[in-house]
């Protein structure tokens, strides 16, 4: 369980100017085993929020509790240990270009403290198992640049799972992928959530992604939570102007009458939830 209490995050302004607040009084509880979506447009603060969960961004104020334990100020070895239990995947995959696919997946296993580290053979065995799980058996000796975007994200998912995390953070994991690949990656994430019981925290700007896979959704706008609730309920009965507008736009596009900027996510929104999770 992830509890965020009264989280504020601001960055110091350049050369003494006023600091810039990017997150304002965020309180959230993410239950174990759920798929939680953080929805918002770019610049809304969702990337910063997800980075507060593994403390890549330290909190300016407020508390972070993981499984009931206050971890707001952990450092050093304890912080490393916390992060070992939280996998993360990224928009641009962030694979190590000079490592093979197998070596990418073993990376998180190589950096744990020596006393807990598996032997080389065990690490490779675990990596092979994970590559098989994400559908990339046989790709061990290749390099990231030889793989498609969807395949690279699968490797990143395998890598994020290496240390058997209970939580996985997904930072716009499908934004760089085409519609078909997006659906496949969402299916895989769904499977990981259901079969391994990994809590997924998923940031996205895409309504369809949020709708297809998330149990609950928080919508962030201007650094504040403007919507929070069960996905279906939220989409049936949006409370905020911004979500109402987004839903209206998406429907507009879905019916093939619109032709404006958000084409990829609009195209993806035509996919039904059933297609995405099967």
């Amino acid at each position: 369980m992830i509890q965020i209490e009264h989280l504020h995050k601001s960055y110091p302004g350049a050369d003494g100017s006023a600091s810039r607040e990017v997150l304002h009084n965020i309180s959230l509880t993410i239950e174990s085993g759920e798929v939680f979506g953080i929805l918002g447009s770019s610049g809304a603060g969702k990337s910063t929020l997800v980075r507060c969960i593994n403390l890549l961004e330290p909190l300016s104020s407020g508390r972070l509790l993981i499984d009931g334990r206050d971890v707001t100020h952990v450092r050093g070895r304890e912080l490393a240990q916390l992060r070992t239990g939280i996998g993360m995947i990224f928009q641009n995959f962030s694979l190590f270009q000079q490592r093979t696919i197998l070596q990418n997946v073993t990376f998180p296993l190589e950096i744990v403290p020596r006393s807990e580290r598996l032997s080389r053979a065990e690490r490779e065995e675990r990596a092979r198992y994970l590559l098989d799980l994400v559908g990339l058996a046989g790709f061990e000796k290749r390099y990231p640049s030889q793989l498609s975007g969807g395949q690279q994200q699968r490797v990143a998912i395998a890598r994020a799972l290496a240390n058997k995390p209970s939580i996985m953070l997904c930072d716009e994991a499908t934004s760089a992928l085409d519609t078909t690949t997006t659906v496949q990656i969402l299916e895989l994430l769904h499977k990981i959530n259901k079969e391994l019981g990994v809590t997924l925290v998923l940031i996205t700007h895409s309504l369809s992604v949020a709708r297809n896979i998330c149990d609950r959704v928080a919508m962030i706008d201007g650094g504040r939570i403007v919507e929070l609730g069960e996905t279906e309920e939220l989409f049936e009965n949006p409370q905020s102007d911004i979500l109402r507008t987004l839903i209206a736009n998406a429907n507009h596009h879905a019916h093939g009458t619109g032709a404006s900027a958000a084409a990829p996510s609009a195209a993806a929104s035509t996919l039904t939830a059933e297609q995405a999770v099967k």
Partner: protein, 228 residues
């Protein structure tokens, strides 16, 4: 026929000299490149990690190190070479010959290497560092398993660049009696008007630089998996 007889006469007269020149130049350049990396590689890593956007920002360390690097780099090599003579004597016991040249070469090359390394490491995608941090990697692990590993092809190109630069500098070291091809070219060509010796020495320099650069490029390409 006349060319061949000229060549054989030339070789019997200067062959040994030029062979020794090649050996001296290569030893001098290779040794100083290697030692310059012993100092410059950690310095370059520290420049990157202590920078404002680095993994361990430290304004004081960065400013001092960067200042030293700039200071040493702004002294022309020929002046450094002479100014360092007492220091060189202290370190290797002589300011002459190959050992005498290696000390000033290393001193002048180390800050250069620091900048070359800094530039290579700066090319590593910041999101890879963030990914490593998200898995709980320590700063040392990031340095060895991400920064140095991911920039290895670029580091090798940098080493070839350093070698070739020092190759040129080693010729200047000839003026303090360091030996090597540069020394031969200056002594025979400039001071004794023996242009044939100078020309051959210069041709040997060109060949050596080409070989080193090609080996550097080829090995960097061979280990780079970024674009294949």
């Amino acid at each position: 026929m006349s060319f061949l007889s000229f060549a054989s006469a030339f070789l019997s007269e200067y062959g040994e000299l030029l062979t020794q020149g090649v050996i001296d130049t290569m030893v001098m350049t290779a040794a100083s490149t290697l030692l310059a990396y012993v100092l410059g590689l950690p310095a370059g890593v520290l420049l990157i990690t202590s920078a404002k956007t680095g993994i361990r920002p430290n304004a004081a360390v960065h400013a001092v190190l960067s200042g030293i690097v700039n200071l040493v780099r702004s002294v022309p090599f020929i002046i450094l070479l002479v100014a360092l003579i007492p220091f060189t004597r202290l370190i290797v016991g002589t300011s002459l010959g190959v050992p005498g040249a290696v000390v000033p070469l290393v001193i002048t090359a180390a800050p250069f290497v620091a900048r070359v390394v800094e530039q290579s490491l700066a090319e590593v995608d910041g999101s890879l560092i963030e990914a490593a941090q998200s898995f709980g990697a320590s700063s040392l692990q990031i340095i060895f398993k991400v920064l140095l590993t991911e920039s290895l092809p670029s580091l090798i190109r940098g080493a070839a660049l350093t070698f070739v630069t020092l190759f040129g500098f080693s010729a200047m070291a000839g003026t303090v009696g360091a030996g090597g091809l540069g020394d031969i070219a200056i002594r025979y060509g400039y001071q004794r008007y023996q242009y044939d010796v100078m020309t051959v020495a210069v041709i040997l320099c060109i060949i050596l630089v080409q070989v080193v650069q090609s080996v550097g490029d080829a090995s960097a390409k061979a280990i780079d998996h970024h674009t294949k």
